[in-house]
C-alpha cells in the first residue's frame, strides 16, 4: 500500500489537499466527498473500506476532522507525507484568516469597523446556537446527551472560570456508566 515516497507523490498530496483547505467552509464535512473521490476512486491509494476505517478513527482522536487528509497521507507516504498534508490542509485557510484579521484590526475605531463588530455579534450568537443544535442532533439527540449538556452549562453558569477537564471527564464517566449498565442489562 505504501508507494516509494517521491517528490512527485508529496507534490500530489499537496495538490489534492490544498484546495480542500479553502473548500472546507463550516466544517470538514464538505471535504469528505472530494477526498474520497481523489484517494479511493481516482488514485486507488486506499480501498473504500480503509477510507471508512480511517474516517472512524479520526472521530476518536482529538482535533479537526480534516486531519483525515493527513492520516491518509501518512498511510500513503509516511511521516513526510503527513507533514506535507498538514501544511497543505491548514496553511491556505490560515493565511486567509490572518489576512482578514489583519485588515480587521488596522481599521479598528473607524465607524464601519464598529458597525461590523456590532453587526457580527448577532451572527455569532445565531451560529453558536445553531452549532449547539447541530452537534446535539449529530450525537444522536438522546436524553443522556441532553442531560450532560444542560448539566455542564449549568455548572459553568455557577462557576464561570471552572476548568473544562472535570466537566469533560464527568461527561465521559456519565456515558461510561450508562454503557456499562446497558451492557449488564444485556448480559442478564
Amino acid at each position: 500500500m505504501r508507494e516509494e515516497v517521491s517528490f512527485g507523490l508529496l507534490l500530489t498530496i499537496a495538490v489534492i489537499l490544498a484546495p480542500l483547505s479553502i473548500a472546507s467552509i463550516g466544517g470538514a464535512t464538505a471535504i469528505y466527498a472530494p477526498l474520497q473521490y481523489e484517494v479511493v476512486d481516482l488514485r486507488q491509494w486506499i480501498t473504500g473500506r480503509e477510507f471508512l476505517d480511517l474516517f472512524a478513527i479520526c472521530r476518536f482522536t482529538p482535533g479537526p476532522s480534516s486531519l483525515l487528509g493527513a492520516l491518509i497521507a501518512f498511510k500513503v507516504a509516511g511521516i513526510l507525507g503527513a507533514l506535507v498534508a498538514m501544511v497543505a490542509l491548514y496553511l491556505p485557510s490560515s493565511a486567509l484568516c490572518y489576512a482578514v484579521g489583519r485588515i480587521w484590526s488596522t481599521h479598528k475605531g473607524k465607524p464601519w469597523h464598529t458597525a461590523v463588530e456590532k453587526g457580527l455579534t448577532p451572527i455569532a450568537a445565531g451560529l453558536i446556537m445553531a452549532g449547539v443544535l447541530a452537534l446535539f442532533q449529530l450525537s444522536g439527540g438522546d436524553l443522556l446527551t441532553g442531560a450532560v449538556m444542560v448539566g455542564v452549562a449549568g455548572v459553568l453558569t455557577w462557576k464561570r472560570k471552572m476548568h473544562p477537564f472535570p466537566l469533560l471527564i464527568a461527561g465521559a464517566l456519565a456515558f461510561e456508566a450508562a454503557y456499562l449498565l446497558g451492557y449488564m442489562a444485556r448480559a442478564a
Binding site: 482529538p62 492520516l71 501518512f74 464598529t114 458597525a115 448577532p122 449547539v132 447541530a134 461527561g171
Partner: protein
C-alpha cells in the same frame, strides 16, 4: 457577558510559551468541536489577554471564513496578541496534540475500533463540550438581546442554519450586510475607541 470585563485581570503576560501551551492543551482535548468557549475561557476570562468585544467578532469570522473553525480562531487570537509569529505559534500549538495522536492511531487503529467502551467515553466528552458551547451561546444571546433588529438577525441565522439546515455561505452573505447596516452609526456621536 457584560459583568465579565470587571472580572478580567491582566495578570499573565502574553509570551510565545504561554500562547503555545494554551492552544496545545485545548487542541489535545478537542473532541467533536465546541472549542470556542474553552478558548474564550483561557484567553478572555482567565488571562484577560483579550476583551469579549475583540473576541466575539473573531468567533463569527472563524466560522464564516473557509477552513476549520478552531484553527481559524487560533490564527485570529494569535495574530491579535503577537502578530504573524503569534498566529503561527497558536496554530502549531493547536495541531501538535492531534497530529501526535493521529500518528499513534495510525499504528493502533484496528485495536481502538474494537473497544466499544471507548466509543461511550468519547460520546460523553463530546456531550460535555456541547454543554460548554450552550453556555457560551446563552452569553452571546444575552449580549445580543439589546435591540429588536439584532434579535431578529440572531433568530433568523439560528433557524436558517440550525433548523432548516440551509448552507452557511449564502445565509451569512445575506444576514451580515443587513445586520451591519442595522448597526451603522446614525449621526457620528458614537464614534469612540471601540
Amino acid at each position: 457577558m457584560g459583568q465579565s470585563s470587571a472580572e478580567q485581570s491582566q495578570t499573565t503576560p502574553v509570551t510565545y510559551g504561554a500562547l503555545y501551551s494554551v492552544f496545545f492543551w485545548i487542541g489535545l482535548f478537542s473532541f467533536g468541536g465546541g472549542l470556542m468557549p474553552w478558548i474564550q475561557r483561557e484567553i478572555v476570562i482567565k488571562r484577560g489577554w483579550m476583551r469579549d468585544e475583540d473576541f466575539l467578532p473573531g468567533v463569527a469570522l472563524a466560522q464564516v471564513l473557509p477552513g476549520v473553525n478552531s484553527t481559524n480562531m487560533a490564527v485570529y487570537v494569535g495574530r491579535h496578541l503577537l502578530g504573524v509569529s503569534g498566529a503561527a505559534v497558536a496554530l502549531i500549538g493547536m495541531l501538535t496534540g492531534p497530529f501526535a495522536a493521529m500518528l499513534i492511531a495510525a499504528y493502533s487503529y484496528k485495536a481502538i475500533l474494537g473497544v466499544p467502551a471507548l466509543h461511550a467515553a468519547m460520546a460523553g466528552v463530546a456531550a460535555a463540550a456541547i454543554g460548554m458551547l450552550l453556555r457560551m451561546g446563552v452569553s452571546a444571546v444575552r449580549t445580543t438581546s439589546k435591540g429588536v433588529l439584532p434579535i431578529a438577525v440572531m433568530v433568523a441565522v439560528f433557524v436558517a442554519i440550525g433548523v432548516l439546515k440551509w448552507p452557511l455561505v449564502p445565509v451569512v452573505l445575506v444576514a451580515t450586510p443587513l445586520s451591519v447596516l442595522a448597526a451603522w452609526p446614525r449621526g457620528k456621536k458614537e464614534q469612540g475607541d471601540a
